[in-house]
């Protein structure tokens, strides 16, 4: 059985049928890219996986454990969702760093709050020790994203690319089983996308399981193990990157890819 398995996710907003039965699977350590034109439901799919939206139907199984079953979890409580969410990390298109916290505090806020909770429940947990560990890990993360010297700065003092790298570090600090990216470079100037993509690529080297919604076709092609093409709420085509990009079968994918080539040729 695959590491992550999604079966028949459907989601409707009012009259808008956004997801019309999506099933997909991801193996451990695999990088899955989701491509497709805007409005195809990619972002909604990602948001459903992260429990920011609740699918109307469908099942999600992670590492053999049923995380979500629409039949049973229709009225799921916020607290239960919170636990489930921690299996995933999500990097947003618009970064969403907390502006009032320094880079370091952005990364350590959630881990420290979790540590505090653990200390409350279990008196044997040592807060000072835990905190030191969290800070040390955060420093390693900062080194990994190449922003060690920016630790004390505030998000507004950073470029978009730097902010997004911090957002990636913030997500990694919670050690999610699967890291998701929602168009991580779409809000960036072209000259800044490279630094973010480089960080994502370096994560692939660490065998991280990642799901990336992206418009960067070149990047998707060479970083992914598997590519899914979505159109109008369904998976139109999926497969290895070279098959999807070099040998598209469906008309929609062909049109989508040639549309992008035209744009890049401009």
């Amino acid at each position: 059985m695959a590491y992550l398995e999604i079966k028949d996710f459907r989601k409707t907003f009012g009259n808008n049928n956004v997801l019309k039965g999506i099933s997909l699977s991801v193996e451990k350590g695999e990088v899955l890219s989701i491509i497709g034109s805007s409005g195809s439901g990619k972002t909604t799919l990602l948001r459903c996986m992260n429990f920011l939206e609740t699918p109307d139907t469908g099942v999600m199984i992670l590492d053999g454990e049923t995380l979500f079953d629409a039949e049973k979890d229709k009225k799921i409580k916020e607290n239960a969702l919170r636990e489930k969410r921690l299996n995933f990390g999500l990097v947003f298109q618009s970064f969403n760093l907390f502006p009032q916290y320094s880079v370091m505090d952005n990364i350590t806020l959630a881990p420290l709050l979790q540590l505090k909770e653990r200390c409350k429940k279990d008196k044997t947990v040592n807060f000072a020790e835990g905190k030191q560990k969290i800070l040390a890990e955060a420093e390693q993360l900062l080194e990994k994203i190449g922003l060690t010297e920016k630790a004390a700065e505030y998000p507004y003092q950073l470029s978009g690319g730097q902010q997004q790298r911090v957002a990636i570090a913030r997500a990694l600090a919670l050690k999610p089983k699967i890291l998701c990216f929602d168009e991580p470079t779409s809000a960036l100037d072209p000259e800044l996308t490279g630094e973010v993509l480089k960080v994502i690529r370096s994560l692939k080297g660490e065998d991280r399981t990642m799901i990336i919604v992206t418009h960067e076709m070149g990047f998707a092609k060479n970083v992914s193990d598997k590519v899914v093409f979505m159109a109008q709420g369904v998976i139109e085509e999926e497969g290895a990157p070279k098959d999807v990009f070099d040998n598209p079968k469906s008309e929609k994918l062909k049109a989508f890819l040639s549309g992008i080539k035209d744009k890049e040729g401009e």
Binding site: R82, N96, F98, P99, Q100, Y154, L174
Partner: protein, 233 residues
């Protein structure tokens, strides 16, 4: 009547001005926060009722609201009002005169200002982008943690300018308390004018008390705004 004596009387009135100001703020701010959650609630009937309530409170002069709180209980109950009992209670337990009127003023002010604050708080909370809440959610923060650790501070920064306006207005609105006989700063000054022999200048002089108080608040708010400007969006 010496200058010192007049100052002493005005200061006593100003004490009441400050008392109304402080108690109103201390109760209306938390109440306004609760109200603001009400007008952002997902429960539509609750939202509608509260919005009508806020419309009424913001739509009627505060002076009229003071009259309503103070006189309506008596009118509706054949001329027997409980404010007299409140007067007695305060007088015999704490030696405070006119306690009923003071309580009526406080109730009117608190309700009135809570409504204005609620609208300011709602604006502040809604202006923090949804992405901040979602970032907190995917980081596994509880709703309470998201509000306290992520949203609240950004809201405080955003509402400081409109709140400083509203709070400065409150300083001067306290003068309305004299409509039902509270001897606050203005009434204390008026008493000199209607005394014998009449002394007029304290009425104009009383403005100095308000000016100094508002000056102090302005400095305080400027300091706060400066403190909060260590980051930008």
């Amino acid at each position: 009547m010496s200058f010192l004596q007049i100052n002493e009387t005005l200061l006593r009135g100003f004490g009441l001005t400050c008392l109304i100001f402080i108690i109103t703020l201390a109760v209306a701010i938390p109440l306004g926060l609760i109200l603001s959650f009400g007008i952002m609630s997902k429960i539509s009937p609750l939202r509608k009722i509260l919005n009508v309530f806020i419309w009424i409170i913001r739509g009627i002069p505060l002076m009229l609201q003071i009259f309503m709180v103070y006189y309506l209980p008596g009118i509706l109950n054949n001329g027997v009002s409980f404010w007299g009992d409140v007067d007695k209670y305060f007088y015999f337990n704490y030696g405070i005169e006119n306690g009923g009127a003071l309580l009526a003023v406080l109730i009117s002010f608190i309700i009135n200002y809570a409504c204005y604050f609620a609208v300011i708080f709602r604006g502040g909370i809604q202006s923090v982008s949804r992405g901040q809440t979602e970032a907190g959610m995917v980081l596994g923060l509880t709703k309470k943690q998201i509000f306290r650790k992520v949203i609240l501070f950004q809201v405080i920064k955003k509402i400081t300018p409109p709140m400083s306006n509203e709070i400065i207005t409150l300083v001067k609105d306290t003068a309305l308390a004299n409509a039902i006989g509270i001897v606050e700063t203005i009434r204390a000054a008026q008493n000199f004018a209607s005394g014998f022999p009449p002394v007029i200048w304290p009425i104009f002089y009383s403005g100095v008390f308000y000016l100094l108080f508002v000056g102090f608040l302005t400095v305080l708010f400027n300091f706060l705004e400066k403190k909060l400007s260590f980051y930008k969006e």
